[in-house]
């Protein structure tokens, strides 16, 4: 049997035994893995820009949260940072946005799975990793845009970076890393649960306690003591503490209740642990899907 001259011209016939044996060079494969991901990323972003309701969900919703907390609840909440509640709020909202960004990841995955779009891609010579990495890249780029919009809106309602420029950049970077981790978890849920409605109904509930029972909106000391233990040590709080110190400077370390070093170290550990667990899980769910 000759190899597919009509199709690609360069497909060598597979040696017995392994998939890799039938494949082009590692370099070529790596190039395809990147290119294929970018094709998927581009597609995902085009759809996002084209469908108003997607933009609404990802951008307008966090802006609404900002305005609500800033003007409705904010007046009633005492916070120990310079610049008042809005400076407390914006880093928290940015972390929450990263959490909510994963909704579209999970729902997108299950929708694609149900429609059969994943089948087509899996039956093509497309790199196996491309679908996941492409979608995640798109989600993180979306989150970056959303984060920058949030900072802009924050500035309009009184938020100011009071730390260093490096700190401000660090805040954005850390928020993106958080987003990657949360999106990986959601990708796994979307692919494993499969049914879009179940994903919408139950697959994302875990995001709510993590974002609300945290230091995002109120100082943890105002919560009942039985809740404080969880609130203080759960990953979102740790990341939010780090975001806050990065945004406002080390002078708020005491108000935040953690040093920058410890908050950063713990944040990165949580994020790394999440990635180590969920990247293989999501990959496996994709292969099985």
């Amino acid at each position: 049997m000759t190899a597919a001259g009509a199709v690609l011209g360069d497909a060598p016939s597979g040696g017995p035994g392994s998939i890799a044996g039938a494949s082009p060079s590692l370099w070529q494969q790596a190039r395809w893995a990147v290119e294929d991901s970018l094709v998927i990323t581009k597609r995902s972003l085009i759809v996002w820009f084209r469908v108003p309701s997607y933009i609404f969900f990802t951008v307008v919703q966090p802006v609404m949260f900002t305005l609500l907390f800033r003007y409705v609840f904010g007046g009633a909440i005492e916070v120990p940072v310079p610049g008042g509640y809005v400076n407390w709020l914006i880093p928290g909202i940015i972390a929450q946005t990263a959490g909510f960004a994963s909704f579209s990841t999970a729902i997108g995955m299950s929708r694609e799975l149900q429609r059969g779009g994943i089948d087509r891609i899996k039956s093509m010579p497309t790199a196996r990793s491309a679908f996941l990495t492409g979608r995640l890249t798109a989600d993180v780029l979306r989150l970056l845009i959303t984060t920058l919009v949030m900072i802009g809106v924050g500035y309009l309602v009184g938020f100011r970076f009071t730390g260093t420029v490096a700190g401000a950049i660090g805040m954005v970077v850390l928020a993106e890393l958080l987003g990657v981790a949360v999106c990986c978890v959601s990708a796994h849920i979307g692919l494993a649960v499969k049914d879009e409605e179940s994903v919408q109904a139950f697959g994302l509930i875990w995001v709510f306690p993590l974002t609300f029972v945290s230091s995002a909106f109120v100082p943890i000391s105002t919560m009942p003591s039985w809740l404080q233990g969880f609130a203080k040590h759960q990953p979102f709080t740790v990341v939010i503490n780090a975001l806050r110190i990065l945004a406002l400077g080390r002078s708020v370390e005491q108000a935040v209740g953690q040093t920058l070093g410890s908050a950063l170290w713990q944040s990165l550990a949580w994020i790394a642990a999440t990635l180590i667990v969920f990247i293989p899980l999501a990959t496996r769910a994709y292969k099985r899907a």
């Binding site: 049997m1 190899a3 017995p16 392994s18 395809w32 094709v39 759809v47 059969g116 891609i121 010579p125």
Partner: protein
């Protein structure tokens, strides 16, 4: 053999979707895999397109093992079906171009192929519109075009016309026929007998995860013997008299669609003489008929005689078809094809 399937089995827990299926397809031929919903057709296609690992048996496509050499298989196949792989918010052009890129054709070739395929599939005018504005027939054509972007040697079409209107069906048939003349090897699953009849060189009939018959459409028809006399009564009240008049002519009980007033008699062999006889009997009984004629047995008849149930009957749903009738809607379609 371009596609070779031996003893293929797949079970999900205790449910056996495929229970040892064998078939093969020579280069450039069309195999129709025919069977009702849930027969195992889609499972077989998913295994052959490397989406699913079999529980047992083996399958090769262009000589590549679908499990051990899955990557090689993916470079020579195309998969299309019910337009599920189309991104609704992307335009027709974007959908195809993306498929080309994911097929590693490169930017330039992807664009050239996209333009060619849009032209050939009569979608050039709609190329810049989002796919969600397309009609069902246009979507299927776009989906088929996407599966052809990499010039696959073997194409899998999973129920390519399910849910299409008659015009859309005929359009798809024309395109599929054209593909075949260009040498593409095709495996087509369908639950429509007329579709398999129309397009396939060889047919395998699958039911409950087993191949229950295989051969050309003619061979399958020969298996149930003679021709079929078919007519409808003009006056519904004469239906009973008509059935009695022709009952003696057939090898078995006539099949009756009482709603449409249609009667079919499966004659043993000597069709034309029986036809004359039928006219005489009906005339003597004073029954006026329309559309009295003789036809070769259809695959409907074959399926019925092989499985004891009609082909398009979704198990348990059309219990009323114990008299052997398929749904009226299907009958209407055949009239036009």
């Amino acid at each position: 053999m371009i596609i070779d399937v031996q003893g293929l089995r797949k079970s999900y827990g205790t449910v056996e979707a495929l229970r040892g299926v064998d078939f093969s397809v020579p280069e450039g031929k069309v195999l129709g895999v025919l069977g009702p919903n849930g027969a195992g057709k889609t499972t077989a296609v998913r295994i052959l397109t490397t989406l699913l690992e079999p529980s047992g048996g083996r399958a090769t496509v262009c000589g590549f093992d679908v499990v051990r050499q899955a990557a090689a298989v993916r470079r020579v196949i195309g998969l299309a079906g019910q337009a599920t792989a189309i991104t609704p918010d992307l335009t027709g052009f974007e959908n195809l171009e993306m498929a080309g890129r994911l097929y590693h054709l490169g930017k330039k070739t992807s664009r050239v192929r996209t333009t060619q395929l849009l032209e050939r599939f009569d979608l050039t005018d709609a190329a810049k519109r989002p796919a969600k504005t397309y009609s069902g027939g246009m979507l299927r054509r776009l989906d088929l075009a996407a599966s052809l972007i990499g010039r696959p040697r073997v194409l899998f079409l999973d129920e390519p016309t399910t849910g299409l209107d008659p015009v859309g069906r005929l359009g798809m048939w024309a395109i599929i026929r054209e593909l075949v003349t260009q040498g593409t090897t095709l495996l087509l699953t369908t639950q429509y007998l007329d579709e398999a009849d129309e397009l396939a060189d060889e047919i395998v009939v699958i039911d409950h995860g087993l191949v229950i018959a295989s051969g050309t459409s003619e061979e399958l028809k020969d298996r149930i013997g003679g021709d079929v006399i078919e007519f409808a009564v003009t006056d519904r009240s004469t239906l009973k008299a008509a059935i009695e008049a022709v009952a003696a002519l057939g090898e078995a009980e006539p099949t009756v669609d009482s709603q449409a007033g249609r009667v079919q008699v499966h004659a043993g062999g000597e069709g034309s003489e029986l036809l004359v006889e039928a006219v005489r009997c009906l005339d003597a009984a004073g029954v006026a008929t329309t559309g009295l004629g003789l036809r070769r047995p259809s695959l409907d008849d074959v399926f019925l005689s092989l499985t004891g149930h009609a082909a398009e009957q979704e198990e348990g749903t059309y219990g009323a078809s114990a008299d052997g009738q398929t749904r009226p809607g299907r009958r209407a379609r055949r009239g036009r094809s």
